[in-house]
């Protein structure tokens, strides 16, 4: 249970970290 929750948190952390990098890389707002 704890391991699954920890994995979820880790995944979310990695997602947000990569999103930040990707936004910096490609700043254009597509409408």
């Amino acid at each position: 249970m704890f391991a699954r929750f920890f994995n979820h948190l880790l995944k979310m952390y990695r997602y947000r970290k990569r999103l930040k990098e990707m936004k910096k890389r490609d700043p254009f707002i597509y409408k």
Binding site: K11, R14, Y15, R18, L19, M22, K23, R25, D26, P27, F28, I29, Y30, K31
Partner: protein, 278 residues
């Protein structure tokens, strides 16, 4: 067995099958009505591409219009028997989002060279989408020169179950649905290496098509990492469209200012004058 509608869609989207001006329609944002393109306008004259652009635009900018042709691209396409064509390929920056056509580099450069302008830029495209459009265009028009302003490597082409060609922009969430699920999956699971290699293969495809058709090819870019790959992997020094977005932008408060596009036009002209083709 694959069913007939799927085969028919693959035939339409196979750039080798593009023969007539109307065939370029299948690669346009207007035709590919996936969630990212839901606001793309129909043929005609438009002050703004859509409501979100109107809302975020500068109010004091001189008025201009987008002319969307029947194939979903900007301005008039040259005739197929025209032998003096310069083609422009890329994303929103080539399309000229937030800019009057006369202020963007395709019009400036084609007027300067006295050539017919074929602008096949479309908002949001990845390098792979650009490569597919370039291949289709090379089968339709007899281009003397092509200027490919290659986008950042992180964008990714994806064909939805509906058959529509979409671009996955990792940093840009789409409406809930298939492409948004794929975007999240790409973000979570696809390595940078995979995306960069897809970019490299797309650049290769563009080069191979240009060589087979005898088109003089110039690469440019608006991204330093794309420029780095072109330099270090392909040995090609591509002009870069620099714009300090913290200081100045186009009407839409997002894309490069006309001054930056003018400088880019000058650097492309210099590249052509010194025969800096790929």
């Amino acid at each position: 067995m694959i069913n007939d509608p799927e085969i028919d869609n693959l035939k339409k989207k196979n750039p080798q099958n593009a023969k007539n001006t109307n065939d370029i329609l299948y690669f346009s944002n207007m035709y590919n009505k996936h969630s990212l393109n839901k606001n793309y306008p129909l043929p005609g004259k438009h002050e703004f591409l859509n409501e979100p652009e109107r809302k975020q635009s500068k109010k004091d900018w001189p008025q201009f219009f987008y002319h969307i042709n029947e194939q979903g691209f900007r301005d008039q396409l040259p005739e197929q028997d025209d032998k003096n064509i310069i083609g422009f390929f890329g994303c929103s920056i080539t399309f000229g989002e937030g800019l009057d056509s006369k202020d963007n580099f395709p019009m400036l450069l084609s007027n300067d060279l006295g050539m017919s302008c074929l602008n096949l830029g479309q908002p949001g495209l990845s390098a792979e989408n650009v490569a597919v459009i370039f291949e289709a265009a090379a089968n339709i028009w007899d281009m003397k020169i092509a200027v490919v302003t290659i986008p950042v490597w992180s964008r990714f082409m994806y064909m939805e179950s509906s058959g529509y060609l979409n671009t996955i922009i990792p940093s840009y969430a789409q409406a809930p649905g298939e492409s948004e699920d794929v975007r999240k999956a790409v973000m979570m699971n696809f390595s940078d290496n995979h995306l960069m290699y897809a970019f490299v293969r797309s650049v290769n495809s563009i080069i191979n098509v240009a060589r087979s058709k005898g088109i003089k090819l110039v690469f440019g870019t608006w991204h330093e990492e794309a420029q780095q790959i072109l330099r270090d992997v392909f040995g090609y020094e591509a002009p870069n469209l620099h714009n300090d977005y913290t200081l100045t932008t186009a009407r839409d408060n997002s894309h490069p200012h006309p001054d930056s596009c003018y400088k880019y036009y000058l650097s492309l002209k210099e590249q052509i004058d010194k025969e800096g083709f790929v």
